[in-house]
């Protein structure tokens, strides 16, 4: 029976090619606009570490007091050196790392090559296991390397390609800011987006992967200064990078792994206790006002998804809605034009259910055709977002099987929903009246 309805539908669509083309075009464009903006939204609002994001937390400490708080009363979104180092010393989470963005120069061993500039982070050794960072060769460094301020480095796959031609470079030496470091690990193409471990300095998204990681205290000792944002509530009293370390300026990101609710509560208590100690010591003149957000909450709090992306998605969905309203109207016209045909079918004994099947099949075919057109247009849309969106975001929008399947599904389901009311009207046609009026 379905094959018969399919044939009927195709015949009917062929009878009014203009109207059919109009519906297919409207659905195709509506679905493509929605899916293209969805692909961008999906890319920027995704969870960069879905298996673990609920166990990774960003603590905030109120070292500036009431004058330095954000509008919602929350403390600064980064830490000063004093607090970051104290939290590392107390070591109350399962794994944790303070980190700051660096941008040192690297001198290739090959004398003919010019020096290059690489971006990266100074982190503690626990950074790598905490974030499940994948290694191509070697591994991260140990806690004793942290305390001994070892001259070791983890490099990214891109830098490894540039310096060592992609070979296993563990044990080789790399010259960073004029000093030699021993490579202990090479990352396996790791570039999570959004860059959740340091949202404040990346603004969420970064075109290039971090290519060098040094032990935090080693970098401090080597005077490799921070490359990211520095926010101060007062001008540092002393000059230089050392002056920054002694100041209350915020420039360090922090992340801790807390595996269950009890651990989270214990860490909250610890942070409050720490702030109270500081209050008693006279460093803070206010009650504890800490925050501890997990990665999804933190990304939301820092507005990582650009509002433009959300507005575009909204407007595109509005466009799809208009296209569907349009389709309802056109299907209604199309179906009711065939009132006499419906009347004959009903008079010959076809139940209402048969009319429903027949016309929903027709709507489904229009939807499928619109979906196929939508696939092509979505492909073109995703390919051309690079023209209109900032590079770091456009690079994230991808065409994959799930997006294509969703495009087709949305087109067919939406069109069949749009076909419901016209079909209902078609099924209500009175056979007697139709037969008589002719």
């Amino acid at each position: 029976m379905f094959a018969y309805y399919l044939e009927l539908a195709l015949r009917s669509l062929k009878r009014s090619p203009g109207l059919t083309a109009l519906m297919v075009l409207a659905i195709g464009f509506g679905v493509a606009a929605s899916m293209t903006s969805w692909s961008v939204f999906r890319a920027v609002s995704g969870d960069p570490i879905p298996w673990k994001s609920a166990q990774l937390f960003v603590p905030q400490i109120d070292m500036w007091g009431p004058n330095g708080r954000n509008a919602d009363g929350s403390p600064p979104n980064a830490m000063d050196y004093t607090d970051a180092v104290a939290l590392m010393r107390d070591h109350r989470a399962k794994l944790q790392s303070a980190m700051y963005q660096i941008s040192p120069s690297v001198v290739p061993a090959d004398a003919g090559k010019h020096p290059l500039n690489v971006s990266g982070h100074a982190v503690y050794g626990e950074f790598f296991p905490m974030l499940d960072v994948p290694f191509e060769f070697g591994s991260g460094w140990s806690t004793s390397d942290d305390t001994n301020r070892a001259q070791v480095a983890v490099i990214g796959s891109k830098l490894n390609q540039k310096l060592f031609g992609g070979a296993n470079s563990v044990g080789r030496s790399v010259n960073i800011e004029g000093r030699d470091y021993r490579v202990v690990g090479v990352l396996d193409h790791w570039n999570p987006q959004p860059r959740f471990y340091d949202v404040v300095n990346s603004g969420g998204f970064a075109t290039d992967a971090d290519d060098v990681f040094l032990p935090f205290q080693t970098a401090i000792q080597a005077n490799i200064s921070n490359d990211g944002n520095t926010n101060c509530n007062a001008v540092p009293k002393e000059s230089g990078f050392v002056g920054l370390q002694h100041s209350a300026c915020a420039w360090i990101a922090f992340m801790a792994e807390l595996d269950d609710a009890a651990a989270v509560q214990a860490y909250r208590n610890y942070l409050d206790g720490y702030a109270r100690d500081q209050q008693q010591a006279g460093r803070f003149a206010w009650a504890p006002n800490n925050r501890l957000l997990d990665v999804p909450a933190w990304l939301n709090n820092q507005h990582v998804v650009p509002s433009d992306t959300k507005v575009s998605l909204l407007v595109a969905l509005g466009l799809l809605l208009v296209c569907l309203v349009n389709t309802v109207g056109l299907l209604l016209a199309k179906f009711l034009r065939r009132s006499s045909e419906i009347g004959v079918r009903r008079a010959l004994g076809a139940p209402r259910a048969a009319i429903y099947t027949q016309f929903l099949t027709e709507a489904g075919i229009v939807g499928a055709a619109g979906g196929v057109l939508g696939l092509v247009l979505t492909g073109a849309g995703v390919a051309s977002v690079g023209w209109v969106l900032p590079k770091d975001i456009a690079a994230l929008a991808r065409l994959d099987v799930s997006l294509l399947a969703l495009t087709l599904l949305v087109a067919v389901v939406a069109t069949m929903l749009a076909g419901l009311y016209p079909t209902y009207r078609a099924s209500r046609v009175q056979p007697a009246w139709q037969l008589k009026s002719n």
Binding site: L19, L22, L25, A26, F29, G30, A33, S37, W64, N67, G68, S105, V107, H114, P115, L116, N117, E177, G178, N223, S225, C232, N233, A234, V235, P236, S239, G240, F241, V242, G243, P306, S307, K310, V311, S312, V315, A316, G318, L319, L321, V322, C323, V325, N326, V328, G329, L330, L332, A333, L336, R337, W387, V388, L389, P390, K391, Y421, R425, N438
Partner: protein, 418 residues
């Protein structure tokens, strides 16, 4: 022509009427807001930075194994390296002038702080005014093409140098008119003093420039976008940045010559693809997202309008077909072609009018919702009014073709079976 028969006929086509009205309402709501967004973005992109942007480029480079900027000795060495670069650049054929500067408008890399009339005020203190600092030398005026409105430009005697993270008194500064008006609303800022970043050492304002945007083009700096302060100081660090103005037409040639020249002065430095950028590139990158959003909204508007127009054509054509016989009867009874044409035009006008009224409410509602959830301002009523006229015109244009076909129905068809 009376409205009564039209209304009576519409009552027979409730569903179609509602659908067209709804489509027009939604289109109006979305198109108004989209065009408002486009207008806002165009306005943002067209803001003048206050610079003469042609024949201007920017060099950002980093030394390798440079002396530390945290020791007095290191600062002197770094300053010598910077002066060597400046001298080489200034001697390059085709170069008009060069100034060392820590950032440029739209570069989105800024040093911000606050200035106050009060000595020793905290940075977070509400008496201060936020500002972005440009650390540069006396060549900044010819290089950037800034326009002085009062006071004097810097002279070579004003220029100091200091380590990047050093706290040094700032005896003189030049500020923008926007900042001067904030500090001294009654005017006459030149010769007066201000205190920068909570310092208790006064800074004398020696000059005021008409306009100079801060480096941040995003929402971070929107509160103080025109509050710039120029300090005549070369910053010494392991990196240095230079603004270069070339003679007209020599931009490309000079830009190509810069990298080899600087490597010749000192090969131990990082200069990559991003190190030498014309100002046009800085501008394009800063506003890329805004231009993109405007293009996207424009495309969506076009699709919307096309779909809605096509929908009106489609449904009206169906109605014309359905009423073929009635039209024939009317024509047989003496109605002229123009009467039939008018009938469909008025019918469409009625539906579009109702749709437009609903659309106005939806448009304002959508705008209010966007205002509470995203950074959006109130849409001027003008946009909505223009939108209303646009959808009414769109409706009339779309209905014309099927209405013309209706008016051509011959009276004879009244006698034929449908």
């Amino acid at each position: 022509m009376k409205l009564h028969p039209i209304l009576a006929a519409l009552r027979k086509h409730k569903a179609g009427t509602v659908l067209i009205a709804l489509q027009i309402a939604l289109t109006l709501a979305i198109v108004c807001n989209a065009i408002f967004i486009i207008g806002q973005r165009i306005q943002r992109v067209n803001r003048a930075t206050g610079l003469d942007e042609s024949n201007l480029f920017f060099v950002s480079q980093q030394w390798v194994g440079a002396p530390s900027a945290d020791t007095p000795d290191g600062v002197e060495k770094l300053d010598a390296m910077q002066r060597e670069d400046l001298a080489a650049l200034r001697n390059l054929p085709g170069v008009a002038s060069v100034a060392p500067i820590n950032s440029l408008p739209l570069l989105n890399s800024s040093w911000t702080g606050s200035v106050s009339l009060k000595s020793g005020a905290e940075i977070g203190d509400k008496t201060g005014t936020r500002t972005a600092y440009y650390f540069t030398d006396e060549q900044v005026f010819p290089t950037l093409g800034l326009k002085l409105v009062a006071g004097r430009a810097f002279n070579a005697g004003d220029v100091q140098h200091q380590g990047f993270r050093e706290n040094r008194d700032r005896p003189v500064a030049i500020i923008t008119r926007a900042l001067a008006d904030k500090l001294y609303p009654k005017g006459g800022a030149v010769g007066k003093v201000m205190y920068s970043d909570g310092s208790s050492a006064p800074t004398t304002i020696v000059g005021v420039v008409t306009r100079m945007q801060i480096p941040s083009s995003g929402s971070f700096g929107s509160d103080f976008a025109w509050n710039s302060t120029l300090i005549p100081t070369r910053l010494d660090a392991n990196f240095a940045r230079y603004a270069v103005r070339t003679r007209p037409g020599q931009l490309d040639a000079v830009m190509h010559a810069v990298t080899p020249l600087l490597y010749k002065v000192n090969p131990l430095r990082v200069l990559d693809d991003d190190s030498v950028r014309p100002f046009s590139d800085i501008r394009a990158r800063a506003y890329r997202a805004d231009v993109g959003m405007a293009v996207l909204m424009g495309v969506i508007c076009l699709i919307l309008i096309a779909v809605t127009a096509a929908g009106i054509v489609g449904l009206t054509s169906f109605w014309v077909g359905q009423r073929h016989r009635q039209i024939g009867v009317r024509r047989a009874l003496g109605a002229r072609k123009i009467d039939i044409l008018h009938y469909f035009q008025i019918e469409n006008g009625l539906i579009a009018g109702v749709g437009a009224v609903i659309g106005v409410i939806l448009a304002l509602g959508l705008n209010a919702w966007l205002m509470t959830h995203y950074e959006m301002t109130r849409m001027p009523v003008l946009y909505v009014l223009v939108g209303v006229i646009a959808v009414l015109v769109l409706g009339q244009a779309a209905v014309f073709v099927p209405a013309r076909r209706a008016s051509n129905v011959s009276p004879v068809s009244a006698t034929r079976a449908a």
